[in-house]
Point group: C2
DNA sequence: AGTAATTTTTAGATTAGTCTAAAAATAATA
DNA sequence: TATTATTTTTAGACTAATCTAAAAATTACT
């Protein structure tokens, strides 16, 4: 069964929008995420259901079937491996690779991706700290916590981000809050949720928004 | 101006079908090469002419404009660089990379391709001996001659192929007629055009068809 | 529970790329 | 040159993915 570029994007989006606790994803969420209209989403959902890639009941939202989930995970694997390639081998910056990987993830060749995996040394995470599914679709996600959830006095290592926009990543880069850095929470401001932390002997203040999107282990 | 995947394929095909002596390409040649119907080609030609990528007069065939040619060369550059990557870095065989490169050549990023070029050490030719245009679209084609044109007693180094099918490349591989080998013409059989040559002290016979598609320098 | 607000779906249209069948132009040949 | 054969184009239709506008279903709120 062939699966189009567009269908792949829908599957990936549904995968990203579903969480372990609330698996079902609704039409509007998908349309927002893909910047299409809800009506277009409905059409596509019918098509994906036809192909048994999703479970779909009118007005009730969707979940991925096993085969749909497998497809989505393959795409994510490809996306993240390409990101590693771009950063590690071609010297791209971590804030430059997302859009390119969105294109590369649709190249159809299992052999290619497995050889790329090997070439890169079977990496476990991509440049943003996101885990890379293995050849069999197994994804072991290290459990990371957002800085916003840490308590005063706790420390940890920056290990991932929840938001992949260029703006956010460039801000982190500029501030020095990059993967691998150790931080310690000094103070939490109740008023606006901003957080004061120390890193390499220096003091930094980050907003609640940033704290929520920065993950430590 | 955006240019679609399909439009790119038409440009590339037109480029490949035009030769220095007979630049204009006709509808049927394109439709055969792309395995579409002539009617579809006509539609697309109108569109490409509209975008000033080709010169098109009804019933008179087409030529590429400068901008169309530049686009075609960029695609060919990408194709060939990806082939080098696949063979040199990922250990693909030279007969496995064509179709994959056909997909990869449509990834849109000048930065990517220039970084890839650098990563590969600015190669001059792809795994089949085809020259790789540089960043500015300059393509210096080493002039190769088909084995079929060589005279008895002449020798040369295998440096390219005219045909990229898996079948042909696998045949060459099996026979040992690979790039870099030195050969010497022993005899040419007038009856069927087949050629007897020596390579590494051994004698090989190749058909006219093979001789026409194997290039030496 | 009944009404209002929101979400989702249907209906009908559009664009890109393709197709078949038939018409028109060009090329080949008697 | 007249006729035939070939090539190319037009006309009209189809599919995938999208859209807008309106209808239907669900959810939220008195």
């Amino acid at each position: 069964m062939t699966i189009s570029f567009t269908e792949e994007n829908y599957l990936k989006t549904i995968y990203h929008l579903s969480s372990p606790d609330k698996e079902t994803v609704n039409t509007n969420a998908i349309s927002e995420s893909l910047r299409t209209k809800a009506a277009s989403v409905t059409d596509m959902l019918r098509k994906l259901a036809e192909k048994e890639l999703i479970n779909y009941e009118k007005y009730q939202g969707v979940t991925l079937t096993d085969s749909g989930k497998a497809k989505a995970i393959t795409i994510i694997r490809k996306h993240r491996l390409w990101e590693v390639f771009l950063v590690d081998k071609l010297d791209f910056k971590w804030d430059e690779v997302h859009d390119l990987a969105e294109e590369l993830e649709h190249i159809h060749s299992e052999k290619l991706i497995n050889k790329l995996d090997e070439f890169l040394g079977f990496p476990n995470v991509d440049p943003h700290g996101d885990p890379i599914p293995d050849k069999n679709g197994v994804l072991k996600s290290p459990d990371l916590v957002p800085v916003s959830k840490m308590l005063v006095g706790e420390s940890g290592k920056i290990s991932g981000v929840r938001e992949h926009s260029k703006e956010f990543l460039q801000y982190l880069e500029k501030t020095g809050l990059i993967l691998g850095q150790s931080i310690m929470i000094k103070e939490k401001i109740p008023f606006d949720g901003s957080i004061i932390l120390s890193m390499e002997e220096k003091i930094h203040t980050i907003s609640r928004e940033v704290a929520k999107n920065l993950l430590v282990s």
